[in-house]
Symmetry: C2
Subunit: 230 residues, 2 copies
DNA sequence: CGGAACATTGACCCATGTCAAGTGTCGTGG
DNA sequence: CCACGACACTTGACATGGGTCAATGTTCCG
């Protein structure tokens, strides 16, 4: 729960442990994807686990009427495919050119059933992912478009801060449609909200994928309900 | 993922394994709560794990403006408190008189770090909980009040079916407010939607906490997007 | 019987979805 | 180098689902 800021943005898991996992990763194969290529789709056999090396991946479910709910984004360092029993429960699609390390899950499973530490690592990774998903639900379920978008930008900013990137000048790897499907809004509403934030002088938009957070303070008061009082 | 139906209703974990957990449970203390008593609150030290023996518990987060988001309900057989690192990330409050088994988490943790099987059990429990939460997000994020309520009732019905209870005559342990905070709707909308379903002849409401599903077929077509095509 | 808590119903209004048009921006091919 | 098309984004006009506020009903329990 300490990584609250992580939560709202990524539903994937950033693992920085040195153990069986790192070993597997070191010798894991590399895979390159173009934007829009799938890492896996819902229902696929969960044969591999992936770690994002570069690029970005969207995780989502599709409703039968075609609407999409993005449940998280994965960035470099994040693991995806964790927590599938035998089939993947979500689609994973690159949203820009992406490189991945591939770990066969069978081997990992086997190690885990012998190595309690590894198993605990997996357990804790899931725990964090669950917390992230719950936080996303909070953003998504009851809040105005303004609150959602402001919260989204702030979460992104914090993530950048943690990873040594610029927390003020943000490069959004995803389209407005992706943001909309993540926050439960339409493209138009996302766009209008960006415009409104710009008009209020809280952000600048030199290009549509490039956001500069001008008044973080004020953004935070708009996003308001970031989490618990703590 | 096989327990999709489980998902939408409970974000807690129903464990039916015989292992270290069962042992701990057998000798665990019993605790009785009145309705509205807290099992734990957000920020509490996560010293215990609980299994619901009877009654029902709501798990929720509170936004700073006082709105509540219920992230799941726990019914007899469900575990709560799993997945907390050191502090609980949610509030757990009984919604009716409830009995719980209490397991000290320290002991369990210790066993888990020695016993890879136990650790894997925990991992898998979290996996299921995550899937459930994602499914809830789908219900919550993009759907009309009608879809949400119909989906909610069906999920409840299926859960009853799985547990050997009547899947047609449902006894709702929670108030309209609870349902609203779970589905991201207001009390009034929940109530209106129930009324509408009654008018359509799809359900009967002998009492406000008692629902009879008359036309499940039709309810399903209203709920529509239950999940993936699978 | 009276009061508290929960539920229902109605009237109104606004935020957001929908539909439609217009404006970049990028990459490809002539 | 420009023209073109494809695609993403922005902006506007409009409709509506569901939130808000307020009144009334119902159930339960002391």
């Amino acid at each position: 729960m300490q990584n609250v800021s992580h939560s709202a943005l990524s539903s994937a898991v950033n693992v920085s442990v040195t153990n069986g996992l790192e070993q597997s990763l070191a010798q894991a194969g590399l895979r390159r994807l173009e934007a829009k290529e799938f890492v896996f789709t819902e229902g696929d056999a969960a044969t591999h686990l992936f770690r994002v090396e570069s690029g970005a991946v969207a995780l989502y479910k599709v409703l039968i009427d075609g609407r999409r709910q993005i449940v998280g984004f994965a960035y470099p360092g994040d693991l995806i495919g964790l927590g599938a029993q035998d089939e993947h429960g979500v689609n994973a699609q690159a949203i820009k050119p992406t490189r991945l390390r591939c770990i066969p899950v069978a081997a990992l499973r086997q190690s885990a059933s012998r190595d309690a530490n590894l198993a605990m690592t997996l357990y804790e990774a899931m725990t964090r992912e669950l917390a992230a998903t719950r936080d996303l639900m909070l953003i998504t379920a009851q809040r105005s478009a303004m609150e959602r978008v402001a919260g989204f930008l702030l979460a992104f900013s914090r993530r950048n801060g943690r990873n040594g990137l610029d927390p003020v000048n943000i490069e959004l790897p995803m389209t407005r449609a992706d943001i909309g499907d993540f926050l439960g809004l339409t493209i138009e509403t996302v766009s209008r909200t960006f415009t409104k934030l710009k008009a209020l002088g809280l952000i600048e938009l030199p290009q549509s994928s490039r956001v500069k957070l001008v008044d973080i303070e004020e953004l935070e008061s708009l996003a308001e309900n970031e989490g618990r009082c703590s």
